[in-house]
Symmetry: C2
Subunit: 189 residues, 2 copies
DNA sequence: GTCTATAACACGATAGAC
DNA sequence: GTCTATCGTGTTATAGAC
């Protein structure tokens, strides 16, 4: 399955353009030109511009949800869970750098799926925060404001899409290790 | 001076709308409706939509440049300079939360001033990195990858506009202290 | 699967009355 | 300083030929 190559080509090309200028500033003509065809031809593969955005964002959001559930259900320590979250962000971002830009910057242009996206994001942040709070209770993590810790970690992880393409020499494993060092060992007692 | 109240009203209202939907998705009619007037009336105070974006972004970018120069010219330790950078971001963001969204997300829609903005940003990052590198040389900062340290700090600081409005109970001083604790003490030897 | 042509509407900006 | 009216262009999307 997933043999619909042409549609995926369109979605991937759109994600690249959305990263550069944002969803609203990219026209169907821009996208068609980047594909080497005319705008009208796009509609044989997708039903609307909105459907492209939905495909990009919801797919990634569900990957994060699945990854977080696996981490929550593991029996790792809370610090180890945070390290797994760092690795999760690096893996998903490495596989879809352009799509991550849309997830971060164009989610508000979702129409039918906006509420669903916000629900997934809210659940993710709730789980993230609970790991930090349990880590503080179990004396794994310094007793700083847990929301500030989450904010700091999460904004850094959400911005990886800007940085990973510029650091192709760094392997995902090396980056995960170095970033965990900076983000986590600092808050570890 | 700065008695042009109506123009500033328009710029501030635009910044609020740009934060919610991005520059490209906000129309002059949206902005006029938010001001309680008709779109044509806007042009008695501003010359174009682009001029509004320029006023928002370049003003803030120059505040960061001035703040960084003051920090570079001070004789504080490198760790103290980093703490001053945290406070600089918190102060500028607190005073113009909406404008910071445009600076982060809509800079690529600058036309005439794009090169100038990129020059200011590049200088800022160069100075930021040099403080970290000197801090590592002088054994104030752990010898992690300096670019990862800067990336982590800077993306957190640049995202403060998302977070400060939700934490109005936290004073700027308290936030600066708590965030420095999380961001800096962790990398301090 | 791609094309040309076009519908139906929204966009930034201007002209000129009040 | 704001209005109505409008220009010229760009927008998403569809119809129908090839």
């Amino acid at each position: 399955m997933t043999q619909e190559t042409r549609k995926n080509e369109i979605i991937n090309t759109a994600a690249k353009l959305f990263k550069e200028k944002g969803y609203s500033a990219v026209t169907m003509r821009d996208l068609a030109t980047a594909m080497g065809i005319k705008a009208a031809s796009l509609y044989n593969h997708i039903t609307s511009k909105q459907d492209i955005l939905k495909a990009i964002i919801i797919t990634i959001a569900e990957e994060f949800t699945a990854g977080m559930h696996a981490i929550m259900n593991s029996d790792a320590s809370n610090i180890e869970k945070l390290k797994k979250i760092v690795a999760l962000h690096i893996n998903i971002t490495s596989n879809n750098t352009n799509g991550m830009a849309s997830l971060n910057n164009d989610w508000m242009h979702l129409e039918d799926q906006l509420d669903y996206y916000l629900q997934l994001r809210n659940e993710y942040e709730t789980n993230f925060l609970s790991i930090i709070q349990r880590g503080i209770s179990s004396l794994e993590i310094k007793a700083n404001n847990p929301e500030i810790i989450m904010f700091s970690m999460l904004t850094t992880l959400r911005s990886l899409y800007l940085w990973i393409p510029k650091k192709e020499d760094l392997s995902a494993n090396d980056l995960a290790h170095s970033l965990s060092e900076v983000l986590i060992e600092g808050i570890n007692i």
